[in-house]
Amino acid sequence: MSATQHQPSSIPSFLRDVRFLQVIGQIVFAILVVFVVSRIMTDVFAALQKNNLTPNLAFLQNRAGFDISNSPSWYTSNSSYGTAFQVGLVNTLRVVSVGLVLSTLLGILIGVFLLSRNWLVRTISRVYVELLRNTPLLLQLFVWYFIVMLSLPIFREAYTFPPEGVAHIPIRIAFYGILILVIWWRTRRWEIGSFRRNAIISGVAAMLVMIEIGFWLYNNQPSWQSVYANGDMTSSSFLLYAVISAVLIVGAWFVPIQWRGLTLGSSIGQAIGGLLVYFGIIPNSAFRIEIYPAFYASIRGFAFPELLTTARFAEWMAFVGLGIVLAIAQWVYFGRITETTGKPIPRGWYALLAVVIFAIVGWVVVGSEPAPVSIPVLQEDQTVYMPLEEARAGNLLTIQDELQYNPSPLIFRLPERTNFKFIVGTEIQPEYMALLLGLVVYTSAFIAEIVRAGIQAVPYGQLEAARAMGLTNSQTLRLIILPQALRVIIPPLGNQYLNLSKNSSLAIAIAYADLFLITTTIMNQSGQSVTGMVMVMLTYLIISLIIAAGSNWINRRFQLVTR
């Protein structure tokens, strides 16, 4: 019998049982891990105990005692270590959140450029991507900070945008705008190259050129003043001009048919233009606009306009909230209709419209409340009561008063500076800007490649099929290409977001007070290095997990649902 011929092994049967061996192996492994970890932990604790630095969290209550540049108002050097840690966390989140948005936008733009039909644009974007991907982020941050930021001008001579000054905008520009809009509206359905279209477009162009020439002559050569608004029909130059124009118009009838529209249009157009100027029908006056800068850039940082919420902001927000509720209701309702009837409804636009309408109505309603007739202001160390307008004219309002009594829900204020500092305006320190720009530009190169690969992953046949079905370009992009490309794009994009959040810790290289830098300072001062390190690592881990969870959630929503 074959069963009896089976050779008995010297090894007991349970030793040959894979399941048993696996369990034993795992137990041994677990014991090893626990042994090593506990050994390290005891070493660490022993070393710390010797220096009286047993890890604990109580030190977070102690006074920090160091200053943080550009810290929020709730932090002073008397705050606790815990508060300092919070400042670091806020600073990190400030960079990461803005960086995520900006790098995505820039990355998509460059990614589309990488696929451009235009060779020059394509090549420049390729060089951009390769240069940024193949040099270390640290070096790029150094360049942004030490070379770009530190070579900005001193505070007094800050770059401004728009440059301060007075602009004169001729009123005729408005006339041109209306004219071009009307022409475009009338001719947009006409066949390209048809007689009427050629005549009208060339006529308008010739007229505008003629008007500009007339004004140029008038404004630059005073002896020719008679050109503008002269209106003297007996002057010899006018008669000469009229004759030449008439000859041109008559002559235009005799040119070959395919050129006739162009020549006729332009000869009539120039004649009309000349006459309009000559009789002064088009005014030469201009709007005078004083331009004050909204953005300042200097070695001390950047300044932006600030947006302040007044006491009535809450009332306005109630209106906006109503609008949002309505928008959501619309969104859901129209979505149902589209699902059941198949009728396409632009529900996004409707929702937006609802919010905008409510916001505007709310602004009008809230803002039209009468300003208080008399408010208390300090004048020469005593409180006096006067109307808001009067107080504002007398420059007696503090910013708190303004926020309390101004009827509009939001106040928008341009930056204002003295010789040394900004008194109004949102300021951004150069370290923040350097870090943000460095992270955004570096990450955008990677995102661009991801976007390019994602779009290229959509088969060309999809595009052809969409065109064959008569979808417009924007519909093709919105309904066919993007949904399929996003499926490929989102997972690696999430990875780049993770990288950006972790790379923000390089702030320490350019002394931006982020989480890591502040914790390093805390560790140096309190000696609680292990606790600090664990806190930093856990915080980054949590940020990473949140971003990963978010990108997984979005990924699930966009994945193809099969079976």
């Binding site: 991907r133 040099t135 640290l138 007075v166 331009i291 390089l506």
Partner: protein, 777 residues
Amino acid sequence: MATISDPSNRVNTDEPQVKAPPRLAVGPLAWIRNNLFPSWMDTILTFVAAAVIFTVITSMVQWVIGGANWFIITFNLRQYMIGRYEPQAEWRLQLLLLFVAFAIGFNLATWARISRFLVIVLVVLLALAFILPPVIMAVTSQPHANFAASGVDIVSGSTTEPPQPQVGFIGAAGEKISIQLAHDLAVSDEALTGLYSFSDISSNLLRAAAENRLATQARIAEIERALAADLFTPRQREELTAELEGLEVPPPVVETYAIDQQTVDVQILDGATLEPLASAQLDSSSPPLELTLPASGWYVLDKRVTGDGAAILETSGIYPILVREFAAGDTGESGSSGGRVLEYVRMTDDFTTRAIRPTIDGDNVPATIIIDNQYRGTRPFSDYLRLFLAPMLNKINLALLLVLILGAAGYVGSQFLSRTFAPRIAQRVAIWSLTAIPILMFAMVYGIDGDGIIALGVWIFTITWIAFMYFYGMKLNSYWAALLFLVALGFRLVPHLVAGNLFAIMFWIGIGTLAAWLGSKRRDSTSPRTASLWLILTFLIALGGPILALFFDATNILPLTDTRRWGGLLLTLLLTIVGIAGSFPIGILLALGRRSSLPVVSTFCTVYIEFVRGVPLITVLFMSQLLVPLLNPTLAEVPNVFRAMIGILFFSAAYLAENVRGGLQSVPPGQEEAAKALGLNAAQVTLYITLPQALRAVIPALMGQCVSLFKDTSLVAIVGLLDLAGISETVVAQTEFIGLRRESFLFIAIIYFAFSYTMAYVSRRLEETGSGAARRI
């Protein structure tokens, strides 16, 4: 009726004239139309892009040629490359470089082909590197140097500077010095602003004063013109009026200082004896004073103006110098005992002297040091070539030549091997040469100390004994083998027995028993002949190891180097290569562990991988550099570099594990099932079936990781190591090169880019041609 024979009725067989296609449909015009101006939008984009490119490139070229100070690179090239590595051990690095060049050439020939274009480009570049310097030297002349002489102080803005009556300089024997008045500068202030080349502070101040005056004039005119038009807000108007009131045009500089209108007494003194070697009274019409230097060393230029005014001397042969100070013995000299040594290096060439700086009345004569005698003004192209390009090429061309020759030798060697023997042999050599690079690199850079050799010998001895027992087990019955092994092991165990290290004893006995048992199991499948062969071989190695060890210990050819002196590109590459090579096995184990069906193992690996991937590298480095030594004094003795390496290694392993896991997932499950069906056990399935396929599939991803690790090593600069980014910061912090960050950053950016772009390019080629099948680079 028409018939076929009727000629008028025949089909016209004459081919119609073939019309050329329209100009815009083919050729370069069509390309331009399709790629640059396909639509209105694209036309606008093209013009914008062209404008951007034009501005960027022109301003870049202008800066590189006319503005940048490349002395920071030419003078610190060694630091950028290898940091402060011991000069006496530098030959090891050269040898290593040549080996790496050889290995790369060999691998290129084995796995791919080089396009002819690349070869031509390389040869042309090399030829240029050799031909250009002598051509530049022959065609261009050395730039001149300007010195001001004056009886009065020179004032510009808030700066006042009295010109020095004497200035010391160094020169080699046989060099010609010539001195004359720069009379073409003294015509007007506009001419004075054209002063360029090496200039001392006072002559530069004269230029600055002239520029200042012209700028003030221009500014006043601009404000007056602008105020006349209605272009300003009231606030600006107020500011500008105030500014206008404060502006005042100073009198012409040329007249104020009566430049070059007096005679100047010029003398050249010997540096050691202060004896005058030549002297002249120079005025604007006199011929230049010329002198051929009799010996190498210090000289002093003495210049005095008789009247109340200033003069600018244009000299040739006098150039700024760099003062280097270091501890005697630092350069590897023998016999010097402590103290500081001053060395003077001329910037324009590398002429170096250690002669004592001359003193007059006990004070050091002011010298033409680089900080005071910078290159000022706009630099002409010829000066750029002469000062920077030629010296730089001279420094690198020999190394380039050797590297290319060795690379070519490797290339030819591989072809020879695969033609004469078999491609398989060349491939094996190629793989071995690649694997040898990390080990050899580490051994060469760090060195091998005597104790280490002994330890290594003991290790070789131990391992070969185990192997010996294994093969002996093949010949003998397993029980005998185990017994013999225990005896042999006794020798290895003696130190542990004496020290009473129970753990080590258990370990060695366990290993030994295992080896003998395994050997005895294979007895039946191996012929006695083969077993004997292996036996003899291992025996020889067992004997040879310790003998070799003793031999090396006696000569000690590779003494340990100081890790604190490693730096620059060397450190960057070392961190990268060791990081990749070291993280490879760990990463693969982690990947296998994460995919394992054993819950404990896979949980452990998953937690490790996800934790490490969730924290920034800088925290890991910070821990390894600053926390670990704080917590454990024994670990504090491990050099910083090694701790950083270990940190990078464990960090990189987690990322590598994820890449490998991706590869493992891409292997179809049928492969594993088939292998199991053939009777392979778990280890064999992994080693021979899944892992090779998985690794092959993720080669591009692994190359990508190499690139990112290479870039990430720059973070060690933050924790104080002097890699390429770190050394750049230290170089820029030197007084002589302060404020030259742009030059330094551009240089290291080029290095980083060259390396990582090459890696990325190779990875892309691999990806395009299918993994591992690139055939042309």
